[in-house]
C-alpha cells in the first residue's frame, strides 16, 4: 500500500481506517458532515489525529497515541497536495503564479515553473486567463485554477475535496476526462457527491457516515451491490435491509421482500439486504394482487425529472415512471401510492 491511514479524532466522532495502493484512486463518499474533509486534512497534515498513524510509501507521516504526537512530518515535507473545498487562490499572485507556486516552492526555476503552470492551465481550459488576478475570476474559474494548482505540485498523494462542485456542465465532462487521464498513475483520494466522479475516476469507493467507514470496495461492486443506504442512494438503487426469513427479507418495519437469493443454506435470521432498481418499480393508486410481487405502501415525497422519466420518491423507496404515468395517476407529493416490484428484479445478498 502506498497510503495507509488509521486515525481517530474523538472531538468530531471520527474513527477511520483507509488504504490506497500505488497509482490508484479512492473516492470518499458520504453525507455532509460525515468526515470526508477531516480524513483529507489528517492525511495532508493540516489536522493532527488523537490516535493513529498515516504512512505514505512506507514513510510514517504522523503517529499519535492518546493525543501525544510521536512522529510528525510537517505538511510541506509530505509531498501531499490538498485541494480544499474552497478555492483559496493566493489573492496577491496572478493565476499563473498561483499554479506555478508548487513547482517554484519545490525549487523549479521560474521559466520551468511557468511552463508547467501554463500546461496545467491548458488542462483545465483556462490558458487564456493566466495573467488575471484571482479576484477577477468567476467562482467556477477559480475552482478550476485551484485544480490546476494542486496538479502542478506533482504530489506523491493528491487529495481532492469536491473538485467538481461549482463547475458548469460544459466543463465538467472535459475536466473529468482530463482528470481521468491525469490521475491514471497518480495516487489520489477524492471526495465527491457526484456518483459519476466516483464511477469514472475512482478504482475504489469508501463510504463514510458519522465518522466511520460503513462500506468499502471496488467501485463497480459498491455501486452494483451497495450495503449502505447512502451508497444505494448515490447508486440510484433501492435498498432494504433486514433479516432472512427463509424465503425473503423481513425489514424492521415488518415488510417482507422476496427476491433472488445467492444460494440455499442460509440460516433464518441472518442479516440480508434486498436491492432493486427504481426503473423496475411500478406505481399504483391501489393495492395490486397477483403473481409473486412485492408491494409497499407509501406517500409520495417528491417528483424529480430524470432524463426521459420522472423519479417518484416515497419515504425510503424510489420509482422511475414515464411522465404520462405521472399525469394519468395525478401523482403529486402527498399522494398515497402502492409501489410494486417483481421478485425477479430483486437481488438479495448477505450483509
Amino acid at each position: 500500500m502506498t497510503l495507509t491511514f488509521a486515525a481517530t479524532l474523538p472531538d468530531r466522532g471520527f474513527d477511520v481506517e483507509l488504504d490506497v495502493a500505488e497509482g490508484r484512486t479512492l473516492a470518499l463518499l458520504g453525507p455532509n458532515g460525515a468526515g470526508k474533509s477531516t480524513a483529507l486534512g489528517l492525511a495532508a497534515g493540516t489536522l493532527r489525529p488523537h490516535d493513529g498513524h498515516v504512512t505514505l510509501d512506507g514513510r510514517p507521516l504522523v503517529h499519535a497515541e492518546a493525543g501525544r504526537t510521536r512522529t510528525w512530518v510537517p505538511p510541506h515535507a509530505r509531498q501531499v497536495a490538498l485541494l480544499a473545498q474552497e478555492a483559496l487562490l493566493f489573492p496577491h499572485l496572478s493565476v499563473r503564479q498561483n499554479v506555478a507556486f508548487g513547482p517554484r516552492s519545490q525549487g523549479a526555476r521560474r521559466r520551468e515553473a511557468d511552463a508547467a503552470a501554463d500546461r496545467r492551465l491548458a488542462d483545465v481550459g483556462l490558458a487564456s486567463l493566466a495573467d488575471r488576478a484571482p479576484s477577477t475570476l468567476s467562482g467556477g474559474q477559480a475552482q478550476r485554477v485551484a485544480v490546476a494548482r494542486a496538479l502542478a505540485a506533482e504530489p506523491r498523494l493528491l487529495l481532492l475535496d469536491e473538485p467538481m462542485a461549482a463547475l458548469d456542465v460544459e466543463v465538467t465532462p472535459a475536466l473529468r476526462q482530463s482528470l481521468k487521464h491525469l490521475l491514471a498513475e497518480q495516487t489520489t483520494v477524492i471526495t465527491t457527491h457526484d456518483v459519476l466522479d466516483a464511477l469514472l475516476l475512482a478504482d475504489e469507493i469508501a463510504v463514510i457516515d458519522g465518522g466511520r467507514v460503513v462500506e468499502r470496495g471496488a467501485t463497480a461492486d459498491v455501486l452494483a451491490r451497495p450495503r449502505s443506504t447512502f451508497a444505494a442512494k448515490i447508486a440510484g438503487l433501492n435498498l432494504l435491509a433486514g433479516t432472512w426469513t427463509g424465503d425473503g427479507v423481513r425489514t424492521t418495519a415488518g415488510e417482507v421482500v422476496h427476491g433472488h437469493a445467492p444460494g440455499d443454506g442460509l440460516a433464518v435470521g441472518v442479516p440480508m439486504t434486498a436491492v432493486f432498481r427504481p426503473a423496475a418499480v411500478s406505481v399504483y393508486l391501489d393495492e395490486q394482487h397477483g403473481s409473486p410481487r412485492n408491494t409497499f405502501r407509501g406517500t409520495v415525497t417528491s417528483l424529480e425529472p430524470r432524463g426521459d422519466l420522472v423519479r417518484v420518491r416515497t419515504g425510503h423507496l424510489a420509482a422511475d415512471v414515464t411522465p404520462q404515468s405521472v399525469a394519468e395517476l395525478s401523482l403529486v407529493p402527498g399522494a398515497q401510492v402502492w409501489l410494486s416490484v417483481k421478485a425477479a428484479e430483486v437481488d438479495v445478498y448477505p450483509g
Binding site: 479524532l9 493540516t46 504526537t69 510528525w72
Partner: protein, 282 residues
C-alpha cells in the same frame, strides 16, 4: 484558531514526545524565526531586568505610596483612560474613512495624520499651545466662550489624545485593509444598515487590530511627557501625571525616578494584560 508549535518539535521526523491538542491545524513557523524573535525579546526585556536590579526595593513601597506619587498615578490613569476613549471615538471613524472612503487627497491626509508620531512631543506641545493656548489660533475665540484649555486637566487629555490618536488609526486601518469587505457585503445584503454592519460585523472581525490599536494608544497616552509638560504644565493633582512626576524626581533623586518608572510599567502591564487582545476570530 491557529496554533503553531515552537520550532524544536515541529519538523521532527523522529519520534518526539510533544503533547499537543489533536485536531489543531498544524502549519509551521520557520524554526530560525525563534532566533531573531528571542534577540528582539531580550532587547526589550534585558533593560527592564537591569532597571529592576537597580531599584531600592526597601524604600519602594514608601516611595510609590507617597502623596505626590499617588496623585500623579491617579491623574495618569484617569487622563489616559479618557484619552483612549477619545482616541476610539475619533480614531475608529478616521481609520474607516482612510481604509474605505475614496476621495482626492486621501493619501496626503493619511500622511498628515501620522505627523504627531514623528513630531518631538515637546514641539507637539508648542503646536497645541499655538492652537488652543490663550494667544493661539482658537484660543481667543474660546476665551470669549469662557473656556480655557491650556494648563488644565483637559489640556493633559488633549495632549495625550493628540500623540496617541495616530497609533489607533494606523493599526486599525491596517487590519481593516487586511480583513477586506466580503463579510460586510453579505451583512448589507441581509438588510443591515451601515451602522449595524460596523457594530456587528466589521469591528468584531478586526477585533485583534482594534485591541492592539487601543493598547498602543493607551500605552502612548500613559507614557506621554513632552507635549503634556509644554502644553499643560506640571501642577500636582491637576496636570502632573506620573511621567512628569518621574521627570521631576529625576532632577533630584534618580533612584526614586527609576522606582516610579517601575510603578508605571507595572500599571501598564496590568492594564494591558487584563485586556484580552487575542480573541478567537476564525
Amino acid at each position: 484558531m491557529t496554533s503553531l508549535v515552537p520550532g524544536p518539535h515541529r519538523a521532527s521526523h523522529r519520534p518526539s514526545g510533544t503533547v499537543r491538542p489533536a485536531g489543531e491545524p498544524a502549519v509551521g513557523l520557520p524554526r530560525w524565526a525563534f532566533v531573531p524573535a528571542a534577540v528582539g525579546g531580550l532587547l526589550v526585556l534585558l533593560p527592564l531586568v537591569a532597571m529592576g536590579s537597580r531599584v531600592d526595593w526597601s524604600s519602594f513601597a514608601s516611595l510609590i505610596t507617597s502623596e505626590s506619587s499617588l496623585a500623579a498615578l491617579g491623574l495618569s490613569l484617569r487622563t489616559a483612560a479618557t484619552s483612549t476613549l477619545l482616541c476610539l471615538v475619533l480614531g475608529i471613524p478616521m481609520a474607516l474613512v482612510l481604509a474605505r472612503a475614496r476621495f482626492a487627497g486621501l493619501d496626503l491626509l493619511r500622511s498628515l495624520v501620522l505627523v504627531p508620531l514623528v513630531l518631538p512631543p515637546v514641539v507637539g506641545g508648542i503646536a497645541l499651545l499655538y492652537t488652543f493656548g490663550r494667544r493661539g489660533l482658537l484660543g481667543s475665540s474660546m476665551e470669549v466662550l469662557g473656556v480655557q484649555i491650556a494648563f488644565s486637566t483637559t489640556a493633559v487629555v488633549l495632549a495625550q489624545t493628540f500623540v496617541a490618536l495616530p497609533f489607533l488609526v494606523i493599526s486599525l486601518e491596517g487590519s481593516l485593509r487586511t480583513a477586506g469587505t466580503r463579510y460586510d457585503v453579505v451583512a448589507a445584503s441581509l438588510g443591515a444598515r451601515p451602522t449595524t454592519v460596523l457594530r456587528r460585523v466589521t469591528l468584531p472581525l478586526v477585533w485583534p487590530g482594534l485591541a492592539s490599536g487601543t493598547v498602543l494608544s493607551f500605552a502612548r497616552a500613559l507614557g506621554e511627557f513632552g507635549a503634556t509638560i509644554t502644553f499643560a504644565g506640571s501642577l500636582q493633582g491637576v496636570t502632573r501625571t506620573l511621567p512628569l512626576e518621574i521627570y521631576l524626581q529625576r532632577e533630584t533623586d534618580p533612584d526614586a525616578a527609576v522606582a516610579l518608572s517601575f510603578l508605571l510599567v507595572l500599571v501598564a502591564v496590568l492594564v494591558i494584560a487584563s485586556t484580552r487582545t487575542h480573541r478567537r476570530v476564525r
